[in-house]
Amino acid sequence: MAVSVDEAVSAGPVRDHTPPARRRGGRGRSVLEVALLAVLAVVMLFPVLWMIQTSIKENRDVYAIPAKFFDFQVTMDHFKDVFVASGGGRSALSVSFLNSVVVAGASTVLATVLGVPAAWAYSRFAVKAKKDQLFFILSTRFMPPVVVVIPIFLMYRQVGLIDTKLGLILIYAAYNLPFTIWMMKGFVDEVPAEYEDAAMLDGYTRLQAFRRFTLPLLVPGIAATAVFALIFSWNEFVFAIFLTSSDDVRTAPPAIAGLIGGTTVDWGLVAAASVVFALPVLVFAYLVRKHLVAGVTLGAVRR
């Protein structure tokens, strides 16, 4: 398995043995590095900070000119509005968040359940035209979704999948499957086939050998792959906005986008909804950060 970032990057700057002049040059450089990184961090993080600030400001502070950075009243009303409708009961936004959870979760599970065995098969067996098949599978990811959204829309209308969660689940699973197969194949390749051979000699069938010996070793890889798939499904916008229309089916990204565009825009609500929307992805990415790096750098280090 690929190394994590902590192992890949050498521990800190080189100490002691360099002559003083070099060392001061090194310190000067590191000051510059820190300064540049700080500037970059501010630029990159400013929109995020602004979003979080807006989500906890009173409406009059949101529209204040000049903008108030520090001396504003903190309020949680916008977050309440995200989940609770103005007349009481559940808001449309909260329904869309629930839809997002269902659609992203189900499509990820589907892609994983189909993709992991496929990856195993491609890794272990001599399949006719294996490379061509794998390339074909990957090639379905070459097109941007927006290219196929109209044909998909027409097909979905014919079979009655328009404006259904099942429709979104299927299209997300289809989009995630090639990625799952490719990434998992890398992980399966790293697990020696000998474990399965040995288990088969010990009396297990090939599938039992896979389930009992290879699968447990693949769990980190599966987690990383599933998180990638989950993040894609969670964030997906184009299919969601074209293929769904009603509030009970719509997922969060088009629902949040739908908040913008009326005569007045409740920016506080938009910001709060966005914060709620971003949190799960952050949490998941944090949980599997090691494996995410492993997934990204997979194949960079050969055994």
Partner: protein
């Protein structure tokens, strides 16, 4: 215990690669049989077909008197040791050893007894409570061997088991495997690409090339009379000298005038090559009796012997193995003399042994 019969084995993968073209083997009961060849020669595929991990396209495999073509690996009563050991990473040594027995459903007491017995035999007692990642390469391979032994199978299949060990450990393990096989008397099929391993271990050696058997014989036979040019070049280090010769006056003569004793029944009018081992030649003072003029291209002094590379009469890079006495410098004019017996002679066009 049982012998293994492989007849007309052919394995073609769905993607069209032919891994094994045609292999016939007859492995005796209690024999240590080595399959030797370069990578891609089909030796591992043949072994995996015997194990049941690959299904051959055509051909039959018998273990003992049983036709095992359609039996899954577990029902063939064989044990296999792999290059990467394949110890289950989540199990301690003790459980790794017990695993195949538990899979068979043996009672607990007997499992413990047999694990202890094999641990004693392989001197694994201090390692029983460790997991594979806390074992060195050599220890892992001993455990892997023990896991094969513990089942008391009809035959052992070894797939390059020593390749991942360092040189010193490899020599030790080689001795240990040979000793164990002798003690137990169990049939063993051993796959390797290392000719030293093959020569030192095997009762008989099969040399495979491009999915076919080139030669089967004892280590001595394989060394002394390689059946083809491929075998001749594959066995021996430094490699055999292949010297173009022609028959004249009842003798074999090389272009440079080197005279060799011809084997009986040599065909005429064919392009012939004589295989002369480096130790069947001798570098002498120039003009010595029966010697032909030659020039030393380089000399490798290895302590216990010297390998001279000499050019003579248009033939370049003739290797000569000499005792470390008597030094000739590089570029020196010397004599070259054949001191061995009758060489093996090959037909250039068929690459087969002719006499």
């Amino acid at each position: 215990m049982a012998g293994i019969e492989v007849s007309a084995l052919h394995k073609r993968y769905p993607d069209g690669t032919v891994a094994v073209d045609h292999v016939d083997l007859s492995i005796g009961d209690g024999e240590l049989f080595v399959m030797l060849g370069p990578s891609g020669c089909g030796k591992t595929t043949t072994l995996r077909a015997i194990a049941g991990l690959e299904r051959q396209t055509t051909g039959d495999i018998r273990i003992g008197n049983t036709l095992v073509n359609d039996l899954p690996p577990a029902e063939r009563d064989i044990a296999m040791v792999f290059q990467f050991y394949a110890l289950y990473p989540h199990l301690r040594t003790r459980d790794n050893l017990a695993f195949p027995l538990r899979a068979e459903g043996l009672p607990k007491a007997e499992v413990r007894e047999r694990v202890d017995e094999v641990a004693r035999l392989m001197r694994l007692a201090p390692l029983l409570d460790r997991r594979p990642r806390r074992l060195s390469g050599g220890e892992q391979q001993r455990v892997a061997l023990a896991r094969a032994l513990v089942r008391r199978p009809q035959a052992f299949l070894m797939d390059e088991p020593l390749t991942n060990l360092d040189a010193e450990l490899r020599a030790d393990m080689r001795t240990e495997i040979k000793h164990l096989q002798g003690e137990l008397g169990t049939t063993m099929v051993y796959v390797t690409h290392d000719q030293v391993e093959a020569m030192s271990l095997g009762h008989r050696i099969a040399i495979l090339n491009k999915g076919r058997v080139e030669q089967i014989g004892t280590p001595l036979e394989v060394y002394e009379r390689p059946a083809s040019l491929f075998c001749a070049a594959f066995i021996g280090s430094p490699p055999i000298n292949l010297i173009e010769v022609e028959v004249a006056d009842g003798k074999l003569r090389s272009q440079g005038g080197l005279v060799l004793t011809p084997p009986p029944g040599l065909p005429r009018d064919r392009c012939l090559v004589a295989g002369v081992r480096p130790e069947a030649l001798e570098v002498t003072e120039p003009g010595a009796e029966r010697s032909v003029p030659a020039r030393v291209a380089s000399a490798e002094w290895l302590g216990d012997e010297i390998i001279y590379v000499v050019d003579h009469g248009g033939q370049r890079d003739v290797r000569v193995r000499m005792p470390p006495t008597g030094r000739f410098a590089a570029d020196a004019a010397v004599g070259l003399r054949h001191t061995g017996g009758t060489p093996a002679v090959y037909d250039v066009s068929t690459e087969e042994l002719v006499a």
